[in-house]
């Protein structure tokens, strides 16, 4: 009956309306050696042309180039929903002859975004915090190798606690189906062996229908995704036009699930897990960073918070929130200490002088 109906079942609609008005922002990082089809894949995923004015340098120029971080933003609208997508690129990764520590700029970048968010969060005006944290990192693995290379392992180890990693095999049209399966298995084994934590898809609820569960299981089985990207439309002899690559021996279709896992990746990244990626970034990775940052700031003796479990807001408020980053605060304290000491010295000097003048005065009085 109507008097039983309160009406808060409409809450999700209100939320939906609000978030649609606000829009979403999502930061995606792509990393991997050059020439694995990263830019083409991004263009294919989001049906844009982000890399139009890109100039590829020659090999001799790449000899001395260091890794740079480039950000490209685009606003995509679909069905009334606006997404502000930022793609972070890492040109120069794995290029040079000596790639030791070439991942450090990337790690630094991710941490800087966390720092920025931490500062904004602790600041006074929290109305319009820009979330520039990296929500997801698509790491491209070469299909020509035999699994993860030493450089891949080093990079993944450096960033796996700081960003959601989704491993992807680029240019998957180099592989026959058996080779793809063998490579995927090899990569999965290597990831387990090296204890690298990639993004774990949440298990679907038990009340979902069988079809969805099957799809979900399929998707989990096909990690790392073997993808092919293309922005060209080919007309394959009378059939309807498809996006793909035309070879002399046949045409690869990007959106054909038998040819590659592009559809799976797109569905997962955009359609079903976009929000989850943001949540995991915020609740797990960012909190982990924040805890370790604050713990090093607080006096020693504070509780150990290095566990990666979910932290609740209440426990964190016991530690004083920093107003400034660590180094600046310490500097200020030291400066203030010095000032105090100087003032004390001056005071003592003045006191001594006064005493001296007093005794002199007494002496002159008695004379």
């Amino acid at each position: 009956m109507d008097k039983e109906y309160v009406g808060f079942a409409a809450l999700p609609n209100q939320l939906h309306r609000k978030s649609v008005k606000k829009g979403f922002d999502f930061t995606l990082m792509v990393a991997g050696e050059s020439g694995l089809g990263k830019s083409t894949l991004i263009n294919s995923l989001f049906l844009t042309n982000l890399y139009e004015d890109r100039q590829l340098p020659e090999a001799s120029a790449r000899l001395t180039r260091t890794l740079t971080i480039e950000r490209r933003g685009v606003e995509i609208e679909e069905g009334g929903i606006k997404v502000k997508l930022t793609v972070v690129d890492t040109p120069g990764f794995g290029d040079s002859v000596d790639c030791s520590d070439c991942w450090l700029p990337v790690v630094r970048f991710i941490e800087e975004q966390f720092e920025q968010y931490l500062r904004d969060e602790s600041g006074l005006n929290r109305k319009n915090i820009q979330d520039s944290r990296v929500h997801c990192c698509l790491y491209f693995i070469s299909p020509f190798g035999r699994g993860l290379r030493p450089l891949d392992v080093a990079f993944l180890r450096a960033v796996h606690e700081k960003v959601n990693i989704i491993p992807v095999i680029g240019k998957a049209d180099a592989l026959m189906p058996k080779e793809t399966q063998a490579l995927k298995q090899k990569i999965r084994d290597q990831l387990k062996e090296e204890e690298i934590n990639i993004y774990q898809f949440p298990d679907c609820d038990s009340d979902e229908d069988e079809d969805f569960k099957r799809q979900d299981a399929e998707m989990k089985e096909s990690i790392p995704f073997a993808v092919i990207g293309s922005c060209e439309v080919v007309r394959d002899g009378g059939t309807r036009p498809v996006r793909g690559r035309r070879y002399s021996w046949g045409t690869v279709e990007v959106e054909n699930p038998h040819h590659c896992d592009f559809l799976n990746l797109r569905r997962m990244l955009v359609q079903t897990h976009l929000q989850d990626l943001k949540e995991v970034t915020h609740d797990l990775l960012y909190e982990g960073y924040r805890a370790s940052c604050l713990q090093s700031l607080a006096r020693p003796g504070a509780r150990d918070r290095t566990s990666r479990s979910k932290l609740s807001r209440q426990s964190a408020t016991e530690i004083p929130l920093p107003m400034l980053p660590l180094a600046e605060t310490e500097k200020l304290i030291r400066e203030k200490d010095e000032e105090l000491r100087r003032m004390q010295e001056m005071l003592e000097k003045m006191q001594a002088q006064m005493q001296q003048s007093q005794t002199q005065g007494e002496q002159s009085d008695t004379l």
Binding site: E33, S34, G35, L36, L56, P57, E58, A59, S60, R62, L63, D95, S96, V97, D98, C99, S100, S142, P143, F144, G145, R146, R149, P150, L151, A154, K171, D173, A174, M176, P177, R245, R246, Y247, S248, W249, G250, T251, V252, E253, N256, H258, H259
Partner: protein
């Protein structure tokens, strides 16, 4: 199934034989001069008009165990003494003495006086070389997983690479570059070839690949050193075993952008020491347009950096060679696909790769350039590869070593000087 056509090697040698007839005490290397051109043209004509090879004989290819004793050298291979080191004469104090060669004969039209039978020497030579067999040493360099072993197996239609032996393919990437040489004897049409495949696992696979080409350069120089030692021996073997690297296939990763800095560094250091043939590996990831763009960019980069791959422009002898090699150079680096599996296509069994969107045929020129590479390396330029290695790269090394030793041959020679050790740093080559 196609043929390797090793039988064509004696024909390539025939050309050299014709020079002996035509030139007298002229100086200059054996493979230079217009006499060479004329001789080659004659050889080609002779090939065209000669009766077709007996097809009734089955073209066998078998893997024989390595023959223990070296066969005696055929007379042809004594010929290098006839040359003077024209290019190196400024470094070597005195040229080697010329053997007794008959004066340039007055050209008698033999038809007038009856058939003499001089031209049967070609056949005699061919028989000798077929009995002796050939040495060929090919090195493959490139990152792991680019299909080096598969390609070599496909080239020689036999399981000759490291992949075929009992090596476990799941082995860890070695921490430094290793050099692994595996030898096989292949036979076809009565011609035996002792093929050695030199693999370089670990190249370019580490995080820090500085100087990873050094072990390779050292190996190549060591082979030159071995040959040099044998050559300067007082009592030397009739046929010096030739372990020098005749050809180095360098595998470029098909990124579609440009060469990687490591590729440039390797080729810069080694193009003056060994014949480098760059190939684009796993070319089935590129469409036709991407392939031609990539090849153009690679060629331009190599040119800009002064890297000469085989066939080098500076060693083209005459116009005919130049046009032939120009055509080859324009289509290099060859974009290849290798495979050791067969599939059924249009009723034929072909080597290829089967994907859900089609079957890539390795020997189909519309699909990839493997057939061009095979013809180039085996059917037309095999002998030339060996000759350039011997006449140019080896001579450069030798000249440098003699120079270091004060113009004296190394070893227990005239003054009892002992051979200095192989230099740890590679010899800078003379320009």
């Amino acid at each position: 199934m196609g043929k390797l056509r090793l039988r064509q090697i004696p024909d390539q040698l025939k050309v050299i034989e014709l020079i002996i007839q035509k030139r007298g005490p002229e100086s200059g290397p054996l493979t230079q001069g217009s006499a060479y051109a004329r001789a080659r043209a004659e050889a080609r004509r002779a090939r065209a008009t000669s009766p077709p090879p007996r097809d009734s004989r089955a073209h066998r290819r078998s893997l024989l165990p390595r023959s223990p004793a070296p066969r005696p050298r055929p007379s042809l291979e004594g010929l290098p003494e006839a040359r003077t080191d024209a290019a190196m004469s400024e470094l070597v104090p005195e040229p080697r003495p010329k053997p007794a060669v008959p004066m340039k004969p007055v050209s008698i039209n033999s038809n007038l006086l009856g058939y003499i039978g001089i031209d049967t020497i070609i056949e005699q030579m061919r028989k000798k070389t077929m009995k002796t067999g050939f040495d060929f040493n090919i090195m493959v360099v490139g990152q792991s997983g680019l299909g080096k072993s598969t390609l070599v197996n496909t080239l020689f239609k036999s399981q000759v690479s490291r992949k075929a032996s009992s090596w476990n393919r799941e082995e860890k990437i070695p921490k430094t570059v290793e050099i692994k040489a595996i030898g096989h004897v292949i036979e076809e049409g009565g011609v035996k070839m002792k093929l050695t495949v030199i693999d370089t696992p670990g190249f370019g696979d580490q995080i820090n690949n500085e100087n990873c080409w050094e072990p390779i350069e050292k190996y190549i120089n060591e082979q030159y050193e071995k040959f040099l030692k044998e050559e300067v021996n007082i009592a030397r073997k009739k046929r010096i075993p030739d372990t020098r690297v005749h050809c180095c296939l360098y595998f470029i990763s098909p990124t579609g952008h440009s060469l990687r800095p490591l590729d440039l560094e390797f080729m810069k250091h080694l193009s003056k020491v060994v014949n480098i043939i760059p190939v684009i590996a796993k070319a089935d990831t590129m469409t036709l347009e991407e392939k031609s763009e990539f090849k153009q960019r690679v060629r331009k980069e190599l040119e800009v950096n002064g890297i000469e791959f085989y066939p080098q422009k500076e060693f083209d002898e005459d116009l005919e060679d130049k046009t032939e090699n120009d055509k080859i150079r324009e289509s290099m680096p060859f974009a290849v696909v290798g495979s050791d599996k067969e599939y059924q296509v249009n009723g034929k069994r072909v080597l290829g790769r089967k994907t859900p969107w089609g079957i890539i045929e390795v020997e189909n020129l519309n699909h990839c350039e493997f057939a061009l590479l095979r013809d180039f390396v085996i059917r037309t330029h095999l002998q030339d590869l060996k000759e350039v290695t011997h006449n140019i790269h080896y001579e450069t090394y030798r000249a440098k070593r003699l120079n270091d030793n004060g113009g004296l041959p190394p070893g227990e020679g005239l003054l009892g000087t002992v051979l200095p050790p192989v230099p740890a740093t590679p010899c800078p080559t003379a320009e």
